[in-house]
């Protein structure tokens, strides 16, 4: 159950790297697209009313603190030749889970792999996201993988509609809907 005190303690611990107003403004600005110009950071620094050097220093520090993973492109993968995306779910008994999960994780066609919470009517504890050029290639690979590890109870859930995809907006106050 939720416990406000534990929650506060956890948040405090998480904020071991205290972010000031400028850091937060930088994050807010960088969570959007950076300008496609020769000196994009100069433009961002100007908007934030700080010096270019300060912006770069703070970004480097955020990166060191692992708050900033990278400044990079996120692709639309359907457009990029990976037409079929199937979420493979199955039940793996505890004793086998880690070994099989590591094997499946090592497949180059698999992007995400997690163990997740189960329910009596949803007993699948292992999830792997498979990507392939098309559905039939994907299914062949899943069938082969399942057979190899003697997994009988599994399903592939295809996404048939993208209802929302966005990146997280930080430090907003509208989280409490």
């Amino acid at each position: 159950m939720t416990n406000k005190k534990a929650e506060t303690a956890r948040l405090k611990k998480m904020n071991k790297f205290k972010l000031d107003k400028v850091d937060k403004a930088i994050i807010k600005s960088m969570e959007k697209n950076i300008p496609l110009t020769i000196n994009p950071y100069q433009k961002i620094a100007d908007q934030l009313n700080i010096e270019l050097v300060e912006l770069l220093d703070r970004l480097k520090k955020l990166k060191q603190q692992k708050i900033l993973k990278r400044v990079a492109a996120i692709l639309y993968h359907r457009q990029s030749g990976y037409q079929a995306n199937g979420m493979f779910v199955c039940f793996l008994p505890d004793v086998k889970l880690t070994a099989i999960a590591n094997k499946i994780s090592s497949l180059k066609e698999v992007s995400h792999c997690y163990q997740r919470k189960t329910y009596p009517e949803w007993p699948y504890n292992f999830y792997a996201m498979f990507h392939a050029k098309n559905k039939s290639v994907l299914e062949d690979l899943v069938v082969e993988t399942a057979a190899k590890h003697q997994i009988n109870d599994y399903q592939i859930l295809y996404s048939t509609e993208e209802l929302k995809k966005s990146s997280l907006k930080y430090f907003t106050n509208d989280f409490d809907i």
């Binding site: 939720t2 406000k4 929650e7 956890r10 948040l11 998480m14 790297f17 994050i27 969570e31 959007k32 496609l36 020769i38 000196n39 990166k63 603190q65 692992k66 708050i67 900033l68 993973k69 990278r70 400044v71 990079a72 492109a73 996120i74 692709l75 457009q79 990029s80 030749g81 990976y82 979420m87 999960a101 499946i104 994780s105 090592s106 180059k108 066609e109 698999v110 992007s111 995400h112 997690y114 163990q115 997740r116 919470k117 329910y119 504890n125 990507h131 859930l157 295809y158 996404s159 048939t160 209802l163 929302k164 995809k165 966005s166 997280l168 930080y170 509208d174 989280f175 409490d176 809907i177």
Partner: protein, 162 residues
């Protein structure tokens, strides 16, 4: 899309350098000039290859927590339910999937209290038959790097990006 575009997309996924002119740096690596690179990137954006080019942050390090949620939603109310869910800024992915559990979304909040409060509202939406929170219990792999260079085979590079 030609070979140069593929190279550009691969490099952009790996990340730009943190310096005043990161595109100049990348252009030099690709042995093209920076104007040409910027032109190409603009085209790749307008052709919907690039969703976003910017900072990728670690929500966990910023104190946020995420969970996956699966719903069994009545078809008649499906889009109304999706719309209600999507208005939450912490919902970053929401898909219809082929299953009894037909609506799957990720929810990121600053606190468990906020998560529970929102999900209590979701479960009360007309047409929501069941709701399952499926938090991670163990992490094995997260790799979002799509190698654009191999035409015949998929290659989600192992040492891409974590």
């Amino acid at each position: 899309m030609d070979q140069l575009d593929q190279q550009i997309l691969n490099k952009l996924q790996q990340g730009l350098s943190l310096e005043a002119s990161p595109f100049k740096h990348l252009a030099a690596e690709l042995e093209i000039d920076v104007e040409q690179l910027l032109e190409r990137i603009k085209k790749l954006k307008s052709a919907n290859y690039i969703r976003r080019l910017g900072g990728v942050f670690n929500s966990k390090e910023l104190g946020y927590q995420s969970t996956l949620v699966a719903l069994e939603a009545e078809e008649n109310n499906f889009y109304q339910i999706a719309k209600f869910i999507n208005q939450h800024p912490g919902v970053t992915h929401n898909y219809r999937r082929t299953n009894r559990l037909n609506l799957w979304f990720t929810l990121t909040t600053e606190t468990a209290v906020a998560r529970e409060a929102f999900l209590a509202k979701v479960v009360n939406q007309p047409g929501v038959k069941n709701l399952y929170q499926l938090p991670k219990e163990k992490f094995f792999k997260l790799n979002v790097f799509f190698d654009m260079k191999s035409d015949s085979e998929i290659n989600l590079q192992e040492d891409g990006i974590k």
